[in-house]
């Protein structure tokens, strides 16, 4: 473990889809600057747990979370589950990458500009600097720098996933939630993304859902197993 300062604190988190409870009174501390893996059988609520950290569950029909979550964005732990906490601001600080690459139906450049536009950042030079920096962090700049105006959907699966990571990084999030980010990729792309995550943990706290124990051993600082709605630490 590289840092013992708490980045995310969870107290009594319950998660429901309709009447069905899938997370049961989860308590959790996630240290800053680490990669925390969440594994366990399918359908146990691993992805749902991630959506509690950026309150994305609020956009999912039938989902409901109760309990309290705090995140430290540099000014001490802030309770992000308070009703009046700015959810759009939260989601810019807590980025999320999904299992399947999900490019927006626009060019590579516009995909990268989109989160900045939402955040109200429009100064051209600053936008271009941030985009280049994020694409470099995602090890994608060299592959796309000459075709930024091409439709993003024409990229390969591995490139698309790195674009989605870069699109999240462009807002310089402090927490990165990754929902099986390598599940649909070939081994070469998997290796690139794992290297990228190891680079990123110096700047971000990463919470990653993964089914692959080899991958968890390679890059995660700790592994939490989710089963029957309860979280337990694995002895990896």
């Amino acid at each position: 473990m590289t840092n013992t300062k708490t980045k995310i604190k969870v107290d009594g988190l319950n998660f429901f889809y309709g009447a069905h409870q899938i997370l049961d009174a989860i308590d959790l501390d996630i240290p800053a600057g680490t990669i925390t893996a969440v594994s366990g059988p399918s359908g146990q609520g691993k992805s749902s747990l991630l959506t509690a950290f950026n309150r994305l569950w609020e956009n999912i029909d039938g989902a409901k979370a109760t309990g309290r979550i705090w995140i430290d964005f540099g000014k001490g732990l802030e309770e992000i589950t308070k009703k009046d906490y700015g959810v759009h601001h939260l989601r810019r600080k807590v980025g999320m990458v999904f299992q399947m690459p999900n490019p927006l139906p626009m060019s590579i450049l516009k995909n990268m500009q989109f989160p900045l536009k939402l955040a109200g950042i429009s100064e051209k030079n600053m936008v271009l600097e941030k985009i280049e920096s994020a694409l470099k962090q995602a090890h994608l700049w060299e592959e796309v720098k000459d075709r930024l105006s091409n439709d993003a959907r024409r990229l390969s699966g591995g490139q698309l996933q790195r674009l989605c990571i870069a699109r999240t990084l462009v807002l310089q999030p402090e927490v990165l939630l990754m929902d099986e980010p390598t599940a649909s990729l070939d081994p070469v792309s998997v290796e690139k993304i794992e290297t990228l995550l190891l680079d990123l943990k110096t700047r971000c706290t990463i919470v990653m859902v993964s089914h692959y124990m080899d991958q968890i051993r390679r890059i995660a600082d700790r592994n939490l197993v989710l089963s029957d709605g309860k979280l337990s630490a694995s002895s990896q």
């Binding site: 980025g95 999904f98 939402l118």
Partner: protein
């Protein structure tokens, strides 16, 4: 293929037969029209004895040619789709994204009923409303292009609503979460991501609406279409339209030459619809 059951073979044969019958029906109708109408396709059919340039520049009225009916049909399609498109898309977005399950069910049922209303009933209602408005509010208002276009918009709007709703509801759930995950509001998600992603399927509904607007006769014969009006000068004037001309000719033709002109008009209407479908298909490809 080996090991196919008798049921599989029967179902396959039935499906092929249905496809073949439908395709044949379309080809027979199109072939019949081409066979009878192709020989009538010439400038005389459209412009009669009026010089082409003067007719197109509206310097001289065309009497006996189809130009006014073509212009009326195009104006009708343009106006009705202009009215129906924003309302249809907004209602479809509301049903897919904002309506509570109960509201969605009730409104969905209402729109399905709306889609099944016979066009003659819509035409009669439009006519009745026009008379009411004429008697109580606007003495200058008579059945006209605007009333026809509004009635046609009412007729086709359910297709646009349902296709918009289905297109949005069919988007993968992860696509709906992408922009909110980056900090987008609901409106930003809709505007920048969901509607563009659903656009190609929404165009499908618009294609259906264009076809319906172009061909419907029952509505327009009660709300403004007349046999002789020239090119419509304003939306408050009467107008000629190809479907009405075809109907009128088929019912009242005096000689074979007049009937042939009806075939020519049908062929031109087919070309107009084909052209508009091709245009919509091109948009569909572009938005993909």
């Amino acid at each position: 293929m080996k090991n196919r059951s008798a049921g599989d073979i029967l179902l396959n044969t039935y499906a092929w037969c249905c496809a073949l019958i439908l395709t044949s029906a379309v080809l027979i109708i199109a072939g019949y029209l081409v066979f009878h109408g192709f020989s009538t396709l010439n400038l005389d059919l459209i412009f009669a004895h009026t010089p082409v340039l003067e007719a197109l520049l509206l310097k001289k009225q065309v009497f006996g040619g189809l130009l006014p009916a073509i212009a009326g049909t195009l104006a009708l399609i343009f106006l009705s789709i202009s009215f129906a498109l924003p309302v249809g898309i907004a209602a479809g977005v509301f049903l897919a994204e904002f309506a509570l399950p109960g509201t969605r069910k009730i409104l969905g049922l209402m729109f399905d009923i709306m889609a099944s209303i016979p066009s003659i009933v819509v035409g009669l209602s439009g006519f009745a409303v026009t008379i009411f408005l004429h008697q109580h509010f606007f003495k200058q208002l008579y059945p006209c292009l605007l009333i026809s276009a509004l009635c046609l918009a009412f007729l086709v709007v359910p297709y646009i609503i349902r296709s918009t709703q289905i297109a949005l509801e069919s988007l993968p759930s992860q696509a709906r979460l992408t922009a909110p995950g980056l900090g987008a509001t609901r409106a930003q998600n809709l505007w920048y991501v969901l509607i563009p992603m659903a656009a190609k399927d929404i165009v499908g509904g618009v294609i259906l609406a264009i076809g319906r607007s172009a061909e419907d006769t029952a509505v327009i014969m009660l709300t403004g279409a007349v046999a002789t009006a020239g090119i419509p000068g304003s939306v408050f004037s009467g107008y000629e339209a190809l479907p009405f001309f075809i109907y009128y000719t088929a019912a009242e033709y005096a000689d074979a030459a007049e009937l042939m002109k009806g075939y020519g008009a049908a062929l031109i209407l087919l070309f107009i619809c084909g052209g508009l479908y091709a245009f919509a298909y091109w948009i569909k490809k572009k938005v993909r």
